[in-house]
């Protein structure tokens, strides 16, 4: 067994959450690596969709942006952006939306808009992009993010995208009937959504990560499931495929 980094463990755990039958709306960064790792390992027929309009894409290197030429070159088809948001996302054809964020709360609400006050921002973030409608239109939402008290907060500065709102039935009360965030994959653990309270609950700790590690990097009192298992370490194949993907990506982007 080779050693691996927490980021690698996070990507591998996120990839495992995806199946061959999924139609996945891919965000850039960590989600993109996880989705393509799934495609290159246990889910070769997964359909990956990027909001730039590329449907069924299979890049050999990770794109730097959501609209790299590689995504179009390897896609089954590329549609206009209005069509992507109308027929494919709003049309309810996406089984999993994969999101990240700057701030996250225990109910899977996400902030990618602003730190501080909206009108007097301390840090102005890029904004929602596709996320507000990805969050409500996909069958379910997986979130992947590294844990930190700065990112995992008691209260968001701004709710860019709805998760489970205030928990319980609050999401449905907003007229949103898709599942919402069901899984949070971090560098320390896998969290699943409690069916009643809709709060993230740790169900699996990554090898080497302790409950205290989790508690120390979350701005709310972390909940743990009755039975917390250890996340299986990345297999040799998973690690190899992921590292090859990153190596190809680095070479391609530096090659220019």
């Amino acid at each position: 067994m080779s050693t691996f980094t927490p980021t690698e463990m996070m990507t591998v755990a996120a990839a495992r959450a995806l199946s061959n039958d999924d139609v996945c709306f891919v965000g850039i960064g960590a989600p993109s690596a996880a989705c393509n790792l799934a495609r290159l390992t246990h889910a070769p027929d997964i359909t990956l969709i990027y909001e730039s309009g590329t449907i069924g894409t299979a890049p050999t290197v990770l794109p730097l942006s959501i609209g790299d030429g590689e995504l179009c070159d390897t896609a089954l088809n590329t549609v206009s952006v209005p069509e992507m948001f109308r027929y494919w996302l709003q049309g309810g054809r996406i089984t999993v939306g994969f999101l990240g964020g700057a701030q996250l709360d225990r109910f899977g609400n996400i902030n990618t808009t602003v730190v501080g006050d909206y009108d007097k921002p301390k840090v102005r973030l890029p904004g929602g992009g596709g996320a507000p409608e990805i969050a409500i239109s996909c069958g379910e939402i997986f979130i992947t993010m590294k844990q930190s008290t700065r990112g995992f907060v008691e209260k968001l500065d701004f709710i860019t995208s709805l998760g489970h709102g205030k928990g319980g039935s609050d999401r449905a009360d907003h007229g949103v009937h898709t599942k919402g965030p069901t899984r949070l994959i971090t560098d320390l653990a896998v969290w699943e959504t409690d069916p009643q309270t809709k709060e993230f609950t740790v169900t699996s700790l990554h090898p080497g990560a302790s409950r205290k590690d989790v508690e120390d990097t979350v701005g709310w009192p972390a909940k743990f499931a009755d039975h917390v298992i250890e996340t299986p370490a990345p297999s040799a194949e998973e690690l190899q495929v992921l590292r090859d993907l990153h190596a190809r990506t680095k070479a391609a982007h530096e090659g220019q």
Binding site: S65, D68, S80, F85, G128, G129, A131, P132, I159, H253
Partner: protein, 285 residues
Amino acid sequence: MAKFQSLADAVADNLNDGDSVAFEGFTHLIPHAAAHEAIRQGRKDLTVMRMTPDMIYDQLIGMGCVKKMIFSFAGNPGVGLLRRFRDALENGWPHQLEIEEHSHAAMANAYEAGAAGLPCAIFRGYRGAELTRVNPNIRFVECPFTGEKLAAVPALRPDVAVIHALKANRKGDVFLEGITGVQKEAVLAAKRSIVTVEEIVDDFEGLSPNATVLPAWTVTSIAVVPGGAHPSYTQGYYGRDNSAYLEWDKIASDRDKFMDWMKANVLDRTPDIFAGRVAHLKTQG
């Protein structure tokens, strides 16, 4: 009917101080050369709109051309934040910037509605999202059949749309392919349009009947600017210059460094420079 012009003439004829303008492009086909020309000509008080304002909007803002920005994702794609945009918003440099912020779905639908001649776009969106609190241009209507509450935003109808395309034919019809974003919609929604192209060809022989084509009578001005999307890319012509996007993060992080770069690379240049910038990025036909 499309007029073939130099880029300088096209911008001078179509883009006025105070106009609303969309320099559209979705990672692919971003009209860098045209935005640089607008900066060189010193346009002021622009209301700029774009789903994904990136490097060129950072440049327009940093150079003081922009009064207001309508947008849904203001980032350097794949790299991080837009530092000139942040400086304007957080510190008012070089001056205060108004913003009207939406989601991608809202902007895409709003351009679509603009192209379709409608006053507003209706979609299922913004539920539980806090932009509804800060943007009065997000409203809701009820479906008259089901009672479902649907989001509404005003159609986007810029004075000018500026896009980069693969090629035009001699009549002035324009062809796009690959990731086409909202460019067709932006041109059809706009009062006037400027299209930069890689080349002019005699005809479009061999294209699919369903290709993305803007007829000449929907376009105002066409300027040939090979490489005009750099460091963005043009499908089948040259690849994306990812290193330039990574580099931008450093250039834009400092006001002086930014101004020096703009002088050396934009103010003291002409559109001819773009062809050379993509020489090492050419794709194999």
